[in-house]
Amino acid sequence: MHKSKILVVDDEEIMRCSLSDWLKEDGYDVLAVEDGYQALEKIKKEEWDLAIVDLKMPKMDGIEVLKRVNKSKPGLPVIIITAYATVDSAVMAIKEGAADYVVKPFNPEEISRVVARLVEHQRLIKDNIHLRKELTKRFKFQDLVGKSSNMLKVIEMIKTVAPTNSTVLIRGESGTGKELVARAIHELGPRKKFPLIAAACGAIPESLLEAELFGYEKGAFTGAVSQHKGRIEMADNGTLFLDEIGDISLKTQVDLLRFIQEREFRRVGGNTPIKVDIRIIAATNKHLEKMIAKGEFREDLYYRLNVITIEIPSLRERREDIPILAEHFLEKFSLSTGKTFHGFSEQTMQVLVDYDWPGNIRQLENSIEHAVVVANEPEIHTKFLPQMLVTLETQRYETKPYLSLEEVEKNHILTVLKTQNWNIKKTADFLGINRVTLYNKIKKYQFRKK
């Protein structure tokens, strides 16, 4: 269980030791320092749940420490303690934002109540922040929608593997929702009370990835000014999601393999082995087998990760899900923008279903967001979709078997006019007709340059 961290600041050694010993017996993680400067340095570098600061200290008094803490770490509660209590100093301490003012020596009942109350309050604040983040993530989890047989298989697989502790490898093209699947596995499993920590291996520079995953000790390298917990350590009891696993170097692959085998690691620059209990979920859009053949990915790591595989289909492989996804995103962005829509026009939905979506769900989501922002009518028409989709839609209509020759001609001329930026000569040359004929066509089809 996480121990609450308390920083004790007192210039008298006997007080520091006595208070630390007593707090340690209560199960707190305590550090005692002798002056305000050391305290501020510690507060800057580490996370604390409570600071207990003596009022009278030679270098910097408790009120000054309190003021500076309020500036640098406004959420950290500070108890001012003193053996020389006066009404003035008590008022001053409370005015400056002290969480409490207690006279030394303390009545055991009083101080234990004060410390427990503040630590509990701090825990609730942290829980609240965590829950808010989780709530946002849960909202995203709802994006995992679909009724196609491909997607139903994925959802069934998620339900099957979630209660187990097995390592899962999620494969799928970019934008298919691999992180959503990882989050769903975590949320439906026994580790849901603990965090899911994601590490986008491809997004973190190679030189930083090792430190980011395993953490580092103070002084491990230039710039390591304080101890830093890595993603693996942060995920203890929870789930570690290694996204874009195919992008990591062979050196990091070795470190990762050792960790997966032993479930134990050392921070960069550290000697102490740290044991963690985590579930690993990895994801990739790369063809790992081809990478193994080329010597770019370790086979042993592949087998360690590939215990259970979930293949997420691309959006074009589950076109029947596009309408439901589009409606879902329309509702989502309507809510966030405060606009009201009846839905998509028939033609718009056809464009969405026919498009190949190389960027998958992420691209669909972005396109719907674009349409919602741009649209000034209650129905989403093709004109509100991103230009790229509209252009392709026009081209697609040219090849539709049910269009008349005249319609195909009309669409084609309009597309070329747009792509040539309404330059008549260039358009006529492109179409292989003379300018007079082009003018006649523009007149016939009533094209207007916007």
Binding site: S18, D21, W22, K24, E25, G27, P105, F106, N107, E109
Partner: protein, 182 residues
């Protein structure tokens, strides 16, 4: 063979200690032995507070540990305090060998109530077990009935049982096994 030593610090009524030894023998896998030292612990006296520093007693006892000592608990009748607390019922070295417990505030007379030896022994036993628990590395327990629950009043001492809860017992047994039979 190792023993849990109980050492008096100043005058303490012998019958109380005899009962204590018997009860501790049943709880820990070590026999208890009594050492009587009736010298007044003036070295730990703090005149400004008219009390005795628990830590100073612990430091002195730690320097006089018998060779066959598993843990040592000092028993005193004087009122104990620490630099930061107005009083303590006892104090221990966390994961160490020595603890000290005071009878002073465990007596009914301290609260202007009639003398009760049986109750005094029971309270003393609870505090000794509590401090020994700290010596075996235990923190305070959230279970209000567990002997390791933090007591800041005589009522809270009377409310808790003279045993470890399941979790604390398991921890102590494991520590004893590790320290003695590993």
């Amino acid at each position: 063979m190792k023993y849990i030593y109980l050492k008096t610090i100043g005058l303490v009524k012998p019958t109380i200690l005899e009962n204590l030894v018997k009860s501790l023998d049943m709880l820990f896998p070590f026999q208890s032995k009594l050492i009587v030292d009736e010298e007044n612990p003036l070295f730990a006296f703090e005149p400004k507070r008219d009390q005795y520093y628990a830590k100073k007693m612990i430091e002195k006892l730690a320097g006089e540990l018998p060779l066959d000592c598993e843990k040592l608990v000092g028993i005193t009748d004087v009122d104990l305090c620490t630099p930061v607390l107005t009083f303590v019922y006892g104090e221990a070295q966390l994961s160490g060998n020595v603890a000290v417990v005071s009878l002073n505030r465990l007596r009914q007379e301290f609260y202007y109530l009639p003398h009760n030896d049986a109750l005094l022994v029971e309270r003393l036993l609870k505090e000794c077990i509590h401090e020994l628990g700290h010596c075996y590395g235990l923190f305070h327990c959230n279970n209000s009935k567990c002997v390791m629950c933090f007591s800041n009043s005589i009522i809270s001492i009377d409310n808790k049982k003279k045993n470890f809860c399941v979790g604390c017992k398991e921890f102590v047994d494991k520590t004893i096994r590790k320290e003695n039979y590993a």
